[in-house]
């Protein structure tokens, strides 16, 4: 792993963040069994996307910014947000990172560069483009990462934003996490390029910007591509579209049900809708977290004791996050009228 500047510490860091994200998401998921009713509404997990998330964020430096979709837990974790506050937000407590105002889909941590999300597919892409515009005129060399899914690439917001970013040479990297599904729709059912068997990165040609496809299960491949794109953006040459192929290991989200019906995570849509258990099981075998752990141990970067310690620390941390969230108070009802206006 030489040539891209990733030393043992950095590689260990990458595995650590991937493990922390996985552990956090597992705890969110198990909350539905352990504390039914604690999490309301709709949550979306990043399990399966950890390599893509962390490989991307590893390419950033202080001052850079990130905006994402509602599938947002992983990014602030990698950026260093307080996982107790993140869990408490998902539990709707006053100690949540947004005071209980946003919930799972709307985490925000501007101090760590995590400017926010949107619950509406594709609508955060223009936000990231605007943050990149601000970065451009501030001239401090900041870069913005805009994360979204393959479903968003059909939205007008995607096209309008990438066109302008390319025209104005904005310092932004657009990272499309292509997990091949838009809820229960496969991308070849909704995307002309996918239907033709083409990588979605070809869409970049319409904006005269480079497009590249990477294996989102390999954090180093992701890191290499995003780092190159970040350098290009930082040097003023403009945006890049990175298509990062991932597989989400959970269903799109917990079930949608009216109050009174207990929420839970169903099986992945590949199985429940398309009857394709083989596809899902193959994805499980390619799970990026144990895969990367195995690779680092295999090539001697880490010992298995070091890897175990990472896992144990993550487990303890997220256990504490759950306890903190569960024991935190709810906001006072009257607080609901705060923060409408600045």
């Amino acid at each position: 792993m030489s040539g891209n500047g990733l030393d043992k510490d950095r590689l260990g860091w990458i595995l650590t963040q991937m493990t922390r994200i996985r552990e956090f998401e597992e705890r969110v998921k198990s909350t539905f069994e352990e504390h039914p009713g604690a999490i309301r509404g709709h949550t979306h997990l990043a399990d399966g996307a950890e390599a893509s998330i962390v490989g991307s964020i590893a390419a950033l430096r202080d001052g850079d910014q990130v905006l994402t979709t509602y599938r947002c837990h992983g990014y602030p974790i990698a950026l260093g947000s307080d996982t107790k506050a993140l869990m408490a937000e998902i539990y709707g407590r006053s100690t949540g990172i947004c005071g209980g105002f946003g919930g799972s889909m709307h985490l925000v941590d501007p101090d760590r560069g995590f400017l926010g999300t949107s619950g509406i597919v594709g609508q955060g892409i223009p936000h990231a483009t605007g943050a990149a515009y601000a970065a451009q005129i501030r001239k401090k060399g900041q870069v913005v990462l805009s994360f979204f899914g393959d479903g968003a690439s059909k939205q007008g917001a995607f096209h309008e934003s990438l066109n302008i970013a390319s025209l104005w040479k904005l310092p932004v990297v657009y990272i499309m996490e292509n997990n091949n599904y838009n809820v229960v729709t496969r991308s070849d059912q909704e995307d002309a390029n996918a239907a033709a068997g083409e990588p979605l990165a070809v869409k970049a040609k319409a904006f005269s910007m480079p497009g590249v496809t990477v294996d989102g299960a390999d954090p180093i491949e992701v890191y290499d591509a995003v780092r190159a794109a970040v350098e290009r953006a930082r040097s003023g040459e403009g945006p890049t579209l990175v298509e990062s192929k991932v597989y989400r290991l959970s269903a799109h989200g917990n079930i949608i049900a009216p109050p009174g019906v207990p929420l839970h995570y169903p099986e992945h849509e590949a199985i429940t809708v398309f009857g394709n258990r083989d596809e899902y099981e193959a994805a499980l075998r390619g799970d990026p977290v144990p895969r990367f752990r195995g690779r680092l141990i295999g090539d001697g970067t880490l010992t298995s004791e070091e890897a175990d310690a990472i896992a144990a620390a993550a487990k303890d941390e997220m256990e504490a996050a759950v306890v903190f969230a569960w024991e935190s108070p709810y906001p006072e009802p009257e607080e609901a009228v705060n923060h409408v206006y600045a």
Binding site: G156, S166, A192, K203, S208
Partner: protein
């Protein structure tokens, strides 16, 4: 995955266009030219008012496309739609009456210049929101397919619409569902008051849609015969159920964006340069050299057009203004019992 578009195609398509069609084309172009010039004068006299966008210079595209369509082919256009409407068959006196806000207008005075509708002749609508009805054309194409008809949907828009999100959403879906719709982009290099280079890095619209793989072609929009040939090819394929297609016509907008636009943002076209580009002049001279028609035919085309326009003006002037209470009656459709 579909043909590569070629830029600045120099096919004249002489073989495809026969003498009868060529004369019909010329006559239609003169009708549009005469109408638009007259509307410009009427606008200055306040007999037509509001926001008027003339298509002088765009007659070649309007005529070459619309004269090949049937009344039942659904067509949509935008704010610069008089020529498309006339060529599609909307009666001239009723279009004129609409611009004057009279009862006999195609929309009874409700819509005006940017909102012409004449469903009897397949003019499904025009919109003042750039590219706003491209998705509607997809709907028409879908309906045609579901009904098993060979109707082809056509929608006109300018190069400015291509950067709008709804254009892109439509291209993806039309390609995915292989809808029988022909997207006709009149690329005149300007969107209102800004040149294309202020809107995008990608000069040719056919290059913007290339990643989708739909069949597309770029032609000289001032060469009516070339537009005719290219469109004819797409049309016959679409009638057989194939699609979508994008026809990019490189044109020139002779007047400002709207009547009254001082156009300080671009250089005025020299008179000789305009003569070289004027689609009517070009078709007339091609017609003579190809022996499609003779000089008297060309002169008659202009004369007849101007007479028809004058008659339309008189007719429109004689039409009464609509009753004031009409709007309230038309807000909702009422079920027939």
């Amino acid at each position: 995955m579909g043909e590569e578009g070629s830029s600045s195609d120099n096919e004249t398509g002489a073989a495809a266009l026969d003498a009868r069609a060529a004369l019909r084309l010329l006559r239609q172009m003169w009708r549009i030219r005469a109408f638009e010039e007259r509307v410009g004068v009427l606008k200055r006299a306040d007999e037509v008012y509001g926001l008027i966008h003339l298509s002088i210079g765009g007659e070649g595209v309007a005529a070459a496309v619309c004269t090949q369509l049937l009344a039942r082919d659904p067509m949509y256009t935008g704010h610069r739609g008089h020529g498309h409407a006339l060529a599609k068959g909307a009666p001239m006196e009723r279009v004129m009456a609409e611009l004057m806000g009279r009862s006999d207008g195609v929309c009874r005075g409700m819509g005006g210049s940017m909102h012409l509708v004449d469903t009897e002749h397949g003019l499904m609508g025009a919109t003042g929101v750039v590219g706003g009805n491209i998705p509607l054309a997809l709907g028409s194409a879908l309906a045609a397919r579901l009904r098993g008809s060979d109707e082809v949907a056509v929608v006109f828009f300018g190069d400015g619409a291509v950067q709008a999100g709804h254009f892109n959403e439509s291209v993806n879906l039309a390609t995915l569902w292989a809808l029988p719709v022909i997207l006709v982009c009149e690329n005149n290099g300007f969107a209102e008051f800004t040149p294309r280079s202020a809107h995008t890095n990608v000069e040719r619209v056919s290059d913007v849609v290339a990643p989708y793989g739909l069949e597309r072609k770029t032609v000289d929009g001032n060469d009516a015969a070339a537009v005719w040939t290219a469109f004819a090819r797409f049309l016959s394929a679409a009638r057989a159920g194939r699609g979508p297609f994008l026809l990019e016509c490189l044109t020139h907008r002779l007047r400002g964006h709207y009547e009254g636009d001082p156009s300080q943002y671009r250089d005025a076209l020299a008179a000789e340069e305009w003569q070289q580009r004027d689609p009517i002049v070009r078709l007339a001279s091609a017609g003579e050299s190809q022996r499609w028609f003779r000089a008297p035919d060309a002169a008659a085309a202009e004369r007849d057009a101007r007479e028809e326009v004058e008659a339309a003006v008189e007719c429109a002037r004689a039409s009464p203004f609509p009753p004031p209470g009409l709007p309230a009656e038309l807000v909702y459709a009422v079920a027939r019992r």
